[in-house]
């Protein structure tokens, strides 16, 4: 039973954003199953997806406890509709080719590494514990993305062109990760949230170092799409949810 004493709707909404980012990126990466460029990459991308799913489960459970409405991790993952999800647009961007997926992985993993490191000091102890665990996993994910970015960027003309084009495609969606809205402001005052403005320079340094070594250009685009946090998602998001949720919805209460 969830005690009503622990209810904290602001914190619940914030943790749910983090959970949704991990859950939806994990779902996107899972689409690579049996279609990666090599068997080892199938295993790698799905191991990363599994870490993200594990993080999402801990975060969803915590969001559920903070919400105090009796919606457990499964209800939150499988029974919410599109507008109720608060994941950033970047994690739902379609996989594209392997270059685009790696570009997205680089940008998201670099963000996660700095985010979890900051949240490991959150005044929300449960969130801090989840973050301390997740940072080790995200470090490994970033290493994977860095390795591939170098290999593709500093590889053949074809691989260079592919990852540069993937990078150009996903770059505009990055800005949303660093938005500081009213919810974040309130939680910053309480020491619960990580400060997106403090994360930005750290993220930029990590990413630009890799891009420069990979002989890739930092995209120069002014378009800054946003809306994921308030439930306005990309066109493909509904299809992703349909695939993720249909089994649970078609067989309510089913167990293995």
């Amino acid at each position: 039973m969830t005690s009503s004493l622990g209810v904290d709707l602001d914190a619940s909404r914030y943790v749910l954003r983090l959970a949704d980012d991990a859950l939806i990126l994990g779902q996107r990466l899972s689409e690579w199953a049996v279609s990666s460029p090599a068997l080892e990459e199938d295993v790698a991308l799905l191991n990363i997806a599994l870490d993200l799913l594990g993080q999402a489960r801990h975060l969803l459970t915590h969001a559920s406890e903070l919400e105090g409405r009796g919606r457990d991790e499964d209800s939150l993952a499988f029974l919410r509709d599109e507008p109720e999800f608060s994941c950033a647009l970047l994690v739902q961007v379609d996989n594209g080719d392997f270059g685009k997926t790696i570009a997205r992985q680089l940008l998201v993993s670099a963000f996660h590494v700095h985010l979890w490191r900051a949240l490991a000091r959150s005044t929300d102890e449960v969130l801090a514990a989840i973050a301390a665990k997740a940072v080790k996993e995200s470090d490994y994910h970033l290493d994977h993305a860095r390795h591939w970015t170098l290999r593709l960027g500093d590889g053949t003309n074809e691989s260079h062109a592919r990852i540069q084009s993937g990078l150009d495609a996903v770059w505009p969606y990055v800005h949303e990760l660093f938005e500081r809205d009213d919810l974040v402001e309130r939680l910053l005052e309480r020491g619960i949230a990580a400060d997106p403005e403090a994360l930005l320079p750290l993220w930029r340094q990590t990413v630009t170092e890799v891009l420069s070594e990979a002989t890739l250009d930092v995209p120069d685009v002014s378009w800054r799409p946003t809306g994921g946090r308030s439930g306005q998602h990309l066109t493909g998001f509904g299809y992703l949810l349909a695939e993720m949720q249909h089994l649970h919805r078609s067989h309510p209460g089913a167990t293995w």
Partner: protein, 167 residues
């Protein structure tokens, strides 16, 4: 089989019973070899067992929690299994016995993650081929059959093998 009687059971006896609980994916390791069994406490008639997951998404945790409840219930012990995330699990918590069992099972054990005195047998401080013990080995893939492993190959005997990564 350890005989235990509720009311007089000690944490040591419970730990001995819990040595029957193995990692379902690496069955040579007990949960204490792995270092995920963090605490055993007796509170009145209840055994409180605390475990810490290896990876956030480790699918073996559900089975491990169910196995803990099963072996204790078989002894008539009421128990509660708690999952605690902090401090985060590290391969430093794997016992020396656990590392030796892994190597014998064909999985190269994790290397120490920090300097200073660590409880790792000398022969297991670098990665050696679990088949022929050659130190001439190479990483094939940083990700393996489970979250905790990477895939390696021995350049001497040419056999591929799993390595339990330092974490």
């Amino acid at each position: 089989m350890t005989d235990v009687v509720m009311g007089r059971v000690t944490p040591e006896q419970v730990r001995a019973v819990l040595d029957e609980v193995h990692d379902p994916e690496i069955p040579v390791l007990t949960i204490s070899d792995l270092g995920i069994l963090r605490d055993v406490e007796i509170v009145g008639d209840l055994v409180l067992v605390t475990v810490t997951p290896t990876y956030s998404g480790c699918p073996a945790m559900d089975t491990i929690r169910a196995d803990i409840r099963r072996v204790l219930q078989e002894r008539g012990l009421a128990c509660e299994v708690r999952t605690v995330l902090a401090p985060a699990w590290t391969t430093e918590w794997m016992t020396a016995a656990g590392r030796e069992k892994l190597q014998a099972y064909g999985i190269a054990p994790p290397r120490p993650t920090r300097s200073g005195p660590v409880d790792v047998p000398l022969g297991l401080r670098g990665i050696r081929c679990p088949q022929c013990t050659s130190p001439d080995v190479a990483e094939l893939s940083r990700f393996g059959s489970t979250s905790c492993k990477s895939l390696w190959r021995c350049n001497t005997c040419r056999e591929p093998f799993d390595h339990f990564r330092a974490h």
